[in-house]
């Protein structure tokens, strides 16, 4: 029984982390340009070249 008392809050906490992450993605404008972001990942960014 005690395990439920531990697991339940833990699961809720993990879900809250997920919700927080979702809130962050929304705030930082990551849904503003889904088409552009899908294309950008294919581009060779000059900053990413191996040293």
């Amino acid at each position: 029984m005690n395990i439920v008392l531990m697991l339940a809050p833990m699961s809720v906490f993990l879900a809250l982390v997920g919700l927080g992450a979702f809130w962050w993605t929304l705030k930082s404008g990551q849904y503003d340009d889904p088409r552009g972001d899908a294309s950008r990942i294919l581009l060779d960014d000059p900053d990413d070249r191996p040293l």
Binding site: A8, S11, V12, L19, W23, D32, R35, G36, R40, L43
Partner: protein, 726 residues
């Protein structure tokens, strides 16, 4: 009409927006982007320009934001750089409304996220209850614990996610009406309240998970509806940006600057080149030209203007460059009177009751009396107050209009995405509902039934060939039409264009003139038709007459509308002759010509007074008031800003059959929505009595709710294939 900027020396700094840190940003609408490659090219080209600190392209909205560090940016340089790479860019004024709208969208998405979180987690604690584990492995104490955990997570999430519905319901109640959000709000609040009571009393019926899940499903419908409006609005804004509401203002230092229309002040000196529109009411300082007032009055014959005369905003400058003095601000121009008529029409339209609210008006009283009846009868028949109340609440919960909330938005989003692919832009869901109800169609002539461009009437090919070399040298629309008829060939030499009069040149060593009768030296002809005269010096003169050509499928579209049981009428501001001819060609008996904007609006009022629901299709400023008064309104993409604003739907392309298809899709959407309502009624007819008799447990309720939402959504998706027959 896309604007081509004459960029040599053009100053577009009026479009720069200052930022708090001293930098400036410029927003551009870029056309012709297809892939990641374009994205890189654009950002590299724009980013490499002097003074540019950042260039960020948004592929979804097609907008490029350029930041100039330290200010003093040159928008023209950016546009030119993009043009060299093969992309057309137009300055874009984002405005406040778009930003507010975006905030609402984010709030809905956040509510959706919270509801998803709440539904998933509250559900976790309900699974043991549904699986019937209590009484076997788990005792009552565990059940109460589970219910409390469910309450702690579910209730705050439900309150947050339900806010959009509660607010809307409250607004509606304060206005003395009941919309669909009222039963939704009552259902959710009662579900939460009864669940708390049950949990406190150690009962079985706690539905925190159901309340949040319900809101999650409803928010999907709400978000779809929101997306529909956002997409339509941004597409409409893009269309307007391409019409470039800007004016060329000459500063005190003689420099020409492009300014947003709203910043033109009374007394400003303006330059309007051939092919551009008069931006505000103005007096001609110098220059002479012909003005095309078709958008203002529907009249296709060009009107000559010269120094000292007044020209009105919206007229198209045809032949010569004009220097003007602004007599009014943009908001106070002749357009403003029409705008007031439009506003009056829009107000009458806002009284329209949407389908879902009509359903709610019937649904709400029925459901609430059923619940009250359950309580009273249950108590009288000896159930006891607690059990009677529980059953009454069960009725309210089970009939909570989840399917009804999804029924209309799901259909409308499917319908408008179908029309969007066809090039028809739907501005709101209510517009589709109104369009489905129409029984009469009113067409404007110029620019709607016709293409709005002059076309050469039957002329001798030899005469056309003779005049063509001179016509090719001119930019006047009539000369262009003549040159187009003749095809490619040589141009005349020593060409001299006399603004507002005509063009003179040399062909085969002989002096020749093309233009007005007086300029060419011919007797003044009939005033009714648009004409050009042509002749060699000292010889007989030839007359070319022009008229506006009908859209190729105009007659076909009118016939198709007739087959759908609609009556068709033409209301035009043009002269009787051309209107009668167009009406005869497309096969319409009912037509009126020479109407002023107010008379057109009055004609639509008469139709309304007779109880006939009319669709108005028009493009000009003279149609704007009529468009706003009509039960439903459509405008072509070439229409003026005011008309596009007044219209419910905007169609692009040359095909008038877009009107027919829009009517078909709107009718199909209405049929699907009614089917959905029918299904929801059937569901309630079965579920409500079951709840009254106490036969519904949480598991059945959850299944029934999700099942009904699924059926409604699938039925909406049928829209994608509806109305494909012509």
């Amino acid at each position: 009409m896309a604007l081509t900027y004459d960029l040599a020396g053009a100053d577009l700094s009026g479009f720069l927006r200052p930022r708090e840190d001293g930098a400036q940003t410029l927003e551009l609408l870029v056309k012709g982007i297809h892939c990641a490659g374009c994205l890189v090219t654009i950002e590299r080209e724009a980013g490499a320009l002097p003074g540019v600190s950042q260039a960020r392209m948004n592929l979804t909205t097609g907008k490029l934001v350029v930041t100039f560090a330290g200010g003093g940016g040159d928008p023209a340089a950016v546009i030119q750089a993009l043009e060299r790479s093969g992309y057309t860019a137009t300055p874009f004024d984002p405005g406040q409304a778009a930003a507010d709208h975006d905030r609402e969208g984010r709030r809905l998405v956040m509510a959706l996220g919270v509801a998803a979180f709440g539904a998933g987690n509250a559900m976790m604690f309900s699974v043991p209850l549904w699986a019937g584990l209590f009484g076997q492995e788990l005792g009552p104490a565990t059940r109460v614990l589970m219910q409390w955990l469910s309450a702690i997570i579910g209730a705050p999430c439900a309150v947050y996610a339900g806010m959009p519905f509660f607010e809307s319901a409250w607004r509606s109640l304060r206005a003395g009406r009941a919309n669909m959000d009222v039963p939704i709000s009552i259902g959710v609040i009662l579900t939460l309240a009864i669940s708390f009571v049950e949990t406190l009393l150690h009962g079985r019926d706690a539905y925190f998970d159901a309340a949040v899940t319900l809101l999650f499903l409803l928010l999907i419908g709400r978000w779809l509806d929101h997306q529909l409006r956002v997409r339509a609005r941004s597409a409409a804004a893009d269309l307007l940006a391409l019409q470039a509401p800007s004016a060329v203002v000459v500063g005190a230092d003689g420099r020409e600057r492009h300014m947003p229309l709203s910043e033109v002040a009374v007394g400003d000196r303006l330059v309007v080149r051939p092919g551009e529109r008069i931006p505000v009411d103005a007096r001609v300082l110098s220059g002479a030209s012909d003005l095309d007032n078709a958008m203002l009055t529907g009249e296709t014959r060009p009107v000559p203007v010269e120094a000292g005369e007044i020209c009105r905003a919206g007229a198209l400058n045809l032949s010569g460059a004009l220097r003007l003095e602004a007599l009014a601000r943009s908001e106070d121009s002749a357009v403003a009177a029409i705008a007031r008529l439009v506003e009056a029409g829009a107000q009458s339209k806002s009284l329209y009751v949407r389908l879902a609210d009509k359903a709610a008006a019937v649904y709400v009283p029925v459901v609430h009396s059923a619940a009250a009846l359950t309580f009273v009868c249950g108590w009288l028949l000896g159930l006891g107050p607690r059990e009677a109340l529980l059953r009454a609440v069960a009725v309210l919960i089970i009939t909570c209009p989840c399917a009804l909330g999804l029924a209309v938005p799901a259909v409308q989003i499917a319908a408008s995405s179908r029309l969007f692919r066809r090039g028809v832009l739907v501005k709101s869901g209510a517009a589709l509902e109104r369009l489905a109800e129409i029984e009469h169609v009113v067409f404007d002539k110029t620019g709607v039934l016709t293409e709005g461009r002059p076309q050469l009437l039957d002329a001798a090919p030899s005469a056309v060939a003779m005049a063509a070399p001179l016509a090719r040298a001119s930019a006047h629309p009539l000369a262009r039409a003549l040159a187009a008829e003749a095809g490619p060939g040589p141009s005349a030499s020593e060409v001299l264009e006399v603004a507002g009069q005509g063009i003179e040149g040399v062909i085969d060593g002989r002096r020749v003139r093309l233009g007005r009768a007086a300029f060419v030296g011919a007797p003044a002809g009939s005033a009714g038709e648009t004409e050009l005269w042509f002749g060699f010096e000292g010889e007989a003169k030839t007359r070319f007459s022009f008229s506006d050509r009908l859209r190729p499928d105009a007659a076909q579209a009118v016939a198709a509308l007739r087959r759908r049981g609609l009556t068709v009428e033409i209301l035009s501001g043009d002269l009787a002759g051309p209107v009668a001819e167009a009406a005869a060609t497309v096969g319409v008996d009912a037509w009126r010509a020479g109407l002023t904007p107010a008379e057109k609006a009055a004609a639509l009022d008469d139709l309304r007074a007779q109880g006939r629901k009319a669709l108005m299709v028009g493009d000009g400023l003279n149609d704007a008031a009529a468009l706003a008064k009509a039960h439903a309104a459509m405008a072509p993409g070439t229409a003026l800003e005011a008309s596009q604003n007044a219209a419910d739907l905007v169609f692009s392309g040359d095909q008038l059959s877009a009107v027919v298809e829009a009517v078909d899709v709107a009718r199909a959407a209405r049929a699907r929505a009614l089917e959905n309502f029918g299904f929801a009624a059937l569901y309630n007819a079965v579920a409500a009595p079951a709840a009254m008799l106490g036969l519904i447990n949480p598991f059945v309720a959850a299944l029934a709710m999700s099942g009904s939402s699924l059926v409604v959504t699938l039925n909406a998706l049928r829209m994608h294939v509806a109305g494909t027959k012509t």
